[in-house]
Structure formats: C-alpha cells, structure tokens
C-alpha cells in the first residue's frame, strides 16, 4: 500500500459561527495527482489553506508526512513546509523581484549553496517550465500563463515532495491551460511528486487526476478514480459534471426576498 503523504481527518472550519468545512476526511498517497473539485464557495480554497498550514481549523487534524501541522513545533512546521511547494491562484510572485530572483529566493534562503549553483538551479527550474530565457523580466511583464508557469518554477525550486496548486487553469485560455496540465503531468512523472490540485475545470481535472474528490457546501461527497467519478450518481456530482445550473430564481429564499423588496410581504397566500 502506498504511503499516505497528506491525511486530513475530520477537518471542521467555522468562521463567525458559519461552518465552511464540516468534518472533511481525505488521504492523498505518495506519487498521485489528487484533484479537489467543487463549485464556487464549496470550501476548496479553505481546505487547501488548512492543508498548507496557513490557517488553524476549528477541529480535526491535518497530517503531512505523518506530522500534525497544527500541533507540531515551529521547527517541525518549517521542515514540513520545506517539503511542499505551493502555486497560488494569484501566482503570488514577488512584484519587486525579477522572475529569476523569485525562483532564487527559496534556494538562497533555505540552502547554503554557492551563487553559481543557485544560478544553474534557477535556470534549470525556469527552463523546465519553458521560461529559461525570460528570467530577467519582472512579473508585471509576463502574460497570465507565463506567470502561472513562473509560480510553478518557484514552487518546485527546492524539489518538493508535495506540490499544491490552487486553481492552476483559472483565467487562462484553453491552449495555455492545456500546457499547464502537461506541465503538471511532467512534474508528476519526472520527479514523482505528490500533487494536490484545487480546481473547478472539469477537462483539466480529468486530464491530470489519478483520483478526484468533490466538495459540496463544506462536505466531501465523493473520492473516486476518474472512471468511478464519471459514473457517480450523486445528484450534486451529476449536476456538476452535466453543467446544470442551480434553480436560483425559483428558490423559495429568492422569491421571499423579492416579495419583501416589493413590499408584498403580507400578500403571500
């Protein structure tokens, strides 16, 4: 049985009394690409932020390589973070630094390698994502797709065992998004990375995933292989896969609010 790299158990998150995640449990195994699907507001990004240790849950545990990241020491958390690379949805490149400096930063900060070695490593990381010749440019000078790839180069700078992507295809045209999918698959096969991708792009998800998980209103409603997920009969999953909109205008709450706005509260029969 493959080693579990990330284990989420009973993760519950509440903000100001509102439950955003409700007892979510999920295991991600070494070397697999897990895609976490879900509609807007389903809790995907919240779950990701808890997995990478940026926020503390109301209850439940998140273990990365067996270490509970909410109850470990600061040194242990730093050690865990060194084994993870994160590519944020907004890319989060440092705008005051060139692309090259962005990739160099974690290598400079977390290793004692000599400058020429750092330069070679940086070039290799940028070349791996097709940005070998654009290292001197500033983030503002790059297109959306190039920024995403630069963020991947920075996330992989220290050869992490786990790579996390937040909405890698968001805002990209299909060709660039497909290129990014191939890059994720390349990283998986070339470096045997464990990859977690948070997405709502179905085509991309089915292209890259080994397994898919789906969050709906803070609860995990499915964790399946691609084929099993496609065949899933859960109404929410069917609605998501078949792109069926929610009947917003007919919902009782919306109708009641419209009546209230029109001053017809008492006119209900």
């Amino acid at each position: 049985m493959a080693e579990v790299m990330i284990s989420v158990d009973g993760l519950t998150v509440e903000y100001e009394g509102k439950r955003v995640l409700d007892g979510v449990s999920l295991d991600i195994q070494r070397g697999e690409v897990m895609v976490l699907l879900g509609g807007s507001g389903s809790g995907k990004t919240t779950m990701l932020r808890h997995i990478i240790g940026l926020e503390r849950p109301t209850s439940g545990t998140v273990r990365v390589r067996g270490i509970d990241i909410n109850r470990c020491s600061g040194e242990e958390l730093m050690a865990v973070r060194r084994t993870m690379g994160v590519a944020f949805q907004e890319c989060a490149l440092f705008n005051s630094m060139s692309i090259e400096e962005n990739v160099e930063l974690p290598i400079h900060e977390l290793t004692n390698l000599a400058d020429p070695v750092v330069e070679i490593m940086t070039y290799m990381k940028l070349a791996a994502v097709g940005l070998g010749e654009t290292g001197k440019l500033m983030p503002q000078e790059l297109s959306g797709g190039m920024k995403k790839r630069a963020a991947v180069a920075r996330a992989t700078a220290l050869d992490p065992e786990i790579l996390v992507f937040d909405e890698p295809s968001a805002g990209l045209d299909p060709i660039v998004a497909a290129g990014l999918d191939e890059l994720i698959l390349f990283l998986k096969h070339a470096f045997e990375m464990t990859i977690l991708v948070v997405s709502h792009e179905l085509a991309s998800a089915f292209r890259i995933a080994d397994r898919l998980a789906m969050l709906d209103r803070g609860s995990l409603i499915a964790v399946d292989s691609k084929d099993a997920f496609r065949a899933n009969t859960n109404p929410r999953i069917r609605q998501f896969l078949d792109r069926v909109p929610d009947p917003i205008a007919e919902s009782a709450a919306v109708q009641a609010h419209i009546r209230e706005l029109a001053g017809l509260t008492g006119a209900r029969t």
Binding site: G53, M84, L105
Partner: protein, 266 residues
Amino acid sequence: MNVLDAIGNAVIQGLAYVGGLTMQFLSELRDSPRMLPLMGRRGRWKTAMQQMAAIGVDGLPIITIMSVCAGFILAMQTGSELRRFGALQYVMDVVGVGFTREIGPLLTALIVCGRSGSAFSAEIGTMVVTSEIDAMKTMAIDPIELVLTPKYIAAMITLPCLTIMSNTFGILAGAVFMYITTKIRLAMYLRYVFNSIELHDVLTGLLKSLIFATIIVNVGCMEGLRVRGGADAVGRSATSGVVRSTYLVILADAFFTAIFYLVHKD
C-alpha cells in the same frame, strides 16, 4: 451593561494591538543580527541599504525644506515677542534648544511617518492581498525577517541621521533670520547656539528619534499585515498606519519629554 461591554471590548482590542506590536518588535530585534554585512544572512544588508535610501536619501529634500521653514518661522515668531523686551539674542537659545530637543526629532518623525509609514502599510498590505506573504510562509521564509526587519534597521539608522540634518537646517534658518534682523554673523551665531545647547539636549532628541522609528515601522507594518480584502483595504491600511503612528509618536513624545524633564530637573 452595553457601555461596559463597549469599554471592555475597546480595552481588549487596544491591549491586543499593543501586544501584537510588542511581539512584532521582539521578532525584529531577534532577527536584527541577520541584517549585518558579512556575518548576517546573504544579501540581507543590501535590502536594509535599499530601505535606508528610500527612507533617508529620498526623504532628505522634504525634511530640509520643512526644517528650514520651521526654523525660520520659530525664529520670527519668538523674535517678534522677544524684540519688545530687548532680548532678541534669546532667539538663538530658543531655536537651538527647541530644535535639538523637540522640533527636529518630532518634525522628522512626522514627515517619515507620512512618507514612509504609509508606504510600509501599502507595500505590506498589497503583499497580503496578492498572497505574497502567504507564499513566503509556505516557503518556510519568515516575512518578519525578510520584509519587516530590514525596514526596522533602516529606520533606526536613518531617523537619527535625518534628525541631525533637521536640527542643522533649522538652526541655520535661525542664523539667516538673525543676520537679517541684527547682522549677527554665522560664526558668532553658531558660537552662541553651541553655548546654549547641552549634550543631553542632543542626546535626548536622538533617543526620541529611535523611539519614533520603532513606532513608525511597527505600526506601519502591523497595519499592512492586518489588511483583509482588496485594494480599498490597502488604502485604509495606509491611512490608519499614518494616523495611528502619528498619534502614538506624539503620545510617546509627551511621555518621554515628561520623563526627561523630571530626570533633568534635579
């Protein structure tokens, strides 16, 4: 009961804010040795130097202009009163002592507060909004060490330097006034000013400038780190960074001036 709740909440929030500032300040002190050239972390001193240029070199023109104006205004206002008593020469005492003890450090702090304090809040606030601070944390890089501490070190070095420049230009503006009104030459003016200033006047002014630097950097950065939301939140953080650090600088000035007064009285 509601009034008590409101007062209690305000006190708790105030204490939490001061506690946060203190923790941030202690972290900066802990990380400060890493800013040193040769023995610190690679390249960190260069970041501190860039910040020194931004706070000090870029801020010098406005501090020069403001200090010259303030020195001249102070000399004119006191001169117009002292002239009636035939004591115009005391303008030199007022300008010399007033600038070194009070006006130089306070004026410099308020200008740096407006220029650099707001820039710190906006810069760090934008980094929060664009997830740059989160990205640093996920890379196991401490944002306080990488972003805040170079600013703190830079302010601790540049604010006393700017204060000395402000004192110098304020006092020289007084010399211009005295030359125009009484034809006192610069050499005699300076001799008179140096006789009236004591070493502790200069030192207390410089000590205050270090305290002001600590307040400006920590409040500015704290406001940036507290940003939640988008561009409007960044704007609000810049405003509240300036407002809070301005009144904390003035409160600290009143507090330390009172202490220096009590200590020196004996």
